[in-house]
Amino acid sequence: MYKYIIRRLLLMIPVLIGVSIIIFSLIHMAPGDPYSAMIDPNTPTEEIENMLRNIGYYDSLPVKYTKWISRALTGDLGFSIRYQEPVVNIIGRRIGNTLLLSVLSLTLSVVIAVPLGVISATKQYSKFDYIATIFAFIGMSLPAFFFALLMIKFLAFDLKLFPISGMQTIGSGYTGIRLVLDVMHHMMLPVIVLSLLQMASFMRYSRSSVLEVFKQDYIRTARAKGLSERLVIYRHALRNALIPVITLLSSSLGFILSGAILTETVFSWPGMGTLIYQSILNRDYPLVIASTMLLSICVLFANLLADILYAVADPRIKYN
């Protein structure tokens, strides 16, 4: 098992290098230099060129990349042009907010959607199944940001049930339990949007996974043993059906992180999504590179985690 994990970690290295090269070169292909905005327009051209040379602006791409990656490995992800602060600090302030949102909505959607999918499968073609299927299709087809806009329009503006945007009431100075409640109130809409949409695919997926398992011979064997239907479903079918659901969980982590960009932007939630979007608009490239890399690494680790869980759950998988 440890060997397997180590081998997988080693395999991640070329992928990581590939990812970083692509992101790095993409961003350096962007026209114009992002520093001009920082510099006093009255500075003589010569001096500007000197400054740019000093920070390595005229280096060739491979040289820049090598410099960047060797600094990144020591934990120095660069200096934000816009915020005049190390990138690590800015990301550190924001990532918690994004994790709060995504972990909560992921948990919520798994806890609700997987049981619904299983029930839907056990009652295939029933009214419940039919309604659940329609709901799942709607959820899979509704663009997250449009759904978010609808929620803001109707629940926040018209019915005034929730705050329109942000993470806490500005200038309220809440502390302690009041602050927690205030943040929770602000979180409601984004969490509803993110989790409802994911529930759809989780439900669909666990339903078809259970149905697939129901066709297997060992389910017939379990029935032939005289086990009750409850044991057949919740012991023999579920254990097998949940194995592929694990893979979906990991891929949805990538989805939630990148999908959160739009959702966070719409709700002005101060997380990684809004940060990346704003730093793209501000041409704050060190910040863009670092956050994009970070999210890609998260996805990569999520995939690794999924594979490991898969191997733990299914005794047929061998680690070599």
């Binding site: 060992y218 064997t221 379990a222 032939a224 043993k225 005289g226 239907e229 044991l231 254990r239 005794p315």
Partner: protein, 331 residues
């Protein structure tokens, strides 16, 4: 009645599909005496597996349904039992072995657990009490190193070993009736012989009746006391094993016997029955076998024959064995 384990009367099992419904088992009667083996032979799709699933109450829902008939097991009509009552019989007094040992065991549970489950359900044993019994059962079916096997997963065993595990599971509660649906088809010839031998030993030891389903007449000759030949959901011929091989009456039985690979001499091409089993949606009006039968006459294509007793232990469903008068009356 006392010595008869199972009586099946006029069993009809149908299926609903998108293209209409049909009867996969169409009025089948038979009985099995205590400690005897009844073999059912026929090509794939003739309804033999559905017959066995009907007895177990495991006809695939919601498309399959038993529309009429009686299944009397030790005098009790299984079709009248509720699902919980059937659960108490399944795996306990009637056990079943399936064709595909490779897929019939749950891949994520250990062998020991899968056997123990039955003991827990039917004999209300505690999990801890089960392990020695499991090892004993595995030893009885001739598995090497049973103490290890209980803690292994199905994928670690070969096909023959898995089928032995299936048999051990089936025998765990000393069933009165064992249904074996093509138990050896997926196995190598040598393993096949071992498994058959094992089943025979167990039968004589525990007086278990066996319903043995196969398409392999060689296996029938080896195992069965009585034989049922099925075709297109109906019994074509019913007799004891010796009579079937010595004096087969139905043209279909004859054709089956002739197409056995061991009867083909070197250099000859194998004899096969022309045509295929008719589609259930497109059944011939007369005898179901008529389109493929070398001896078919006009009446065969027009009207279905009934199962007719030729002698006390020999029944056949074929117009050949009706007198001219009887044939005329029927037209």
């Amino acid at each position: 009645m006392q010595n008869t384990t199972l009586v099946v009367e006029n069993l009809v099992t149908g299926f609903k599909t998108s293209e209409g419904s049909f009867n996969a088992v169409d009025g089948v009667d038979f009985k099995i005496e205590g400690g005897k083996v009844l073999g059912i032979v026929g090509e794939s799709g003739c309804g033999k597996s559905i017959t066995s699933l009907s007895i177990m109450g495991l006809v695939p829902k919601p498309n399959g349904f038993i529309s009429s008939g009686k299944i009397l097991f030790e005098g009790q009509d299984l079709l009248k039992l509720s699902e919980p009552e059937m659960q108490m019989i399944r795996g306990n007094r009637i056990a079943m072995i399936f064709q595909e040992p490779m897929t019939a065991l749950n891949p994520v549970f250990k062998i020991g657990f899968q056997i123990a489950e039955i003991l827990e359900t039917h004999q209300h044993l505690k999990r801890s009490e089960c392990k020695p019994i499991c090892i004993e059962l595995l030893k009885r079916v001739g598995l090497p190193r049973p103490e290890k096997v209980v803690d292994e997963y199905p994928h670690q065993l070969s096909g023959g070993m898995r089928q032995r595990v299936m048999i051990a599971m089936a025998l765990s509660c000393n069933p009165k009736l064992l249904i074996a649906d093509e138990p050896t088809t997926a196995l190598d010839v040598t393993v096949q012989a071992q498994v058959l031998e094992l089943m025979k030993d167990l039968k004589s030891e525990f007086q278990t009746s066996i319903l043995f389903i196969t398409h392999d007449l060689g296996v029938i000759a080896e195992m069965a006391d009585n034989v049922l030949v099925m075709y297109a959901g109906k019994v074509m011929e019913e007799t004891d094993c010796e009579t079937l091989f010595d004096e087969p009456l139905h043209p279909y039985t004859l054709a089956l016997l002739c197409s056995r690979p061991e009867r083909i001499k070197r250099g000859e091409s194998p004899i096969c029955i022309p045509g295929m089993v008719p589609s259930p949606f497109d059944m011939p009006k007369g005898c179901a076998f008529a389109p493929r039968c070398a001896l078919s006459k006009d009446i065969c294509k027009e009207k279905k024959p009934e199962l007719k007793a030729i002698s006390p232990n020999h029944k056949v469903r074929c117009w050949q064995y009706y007198s001219e008068e009887e044939q005329c009356q029927n037209i």
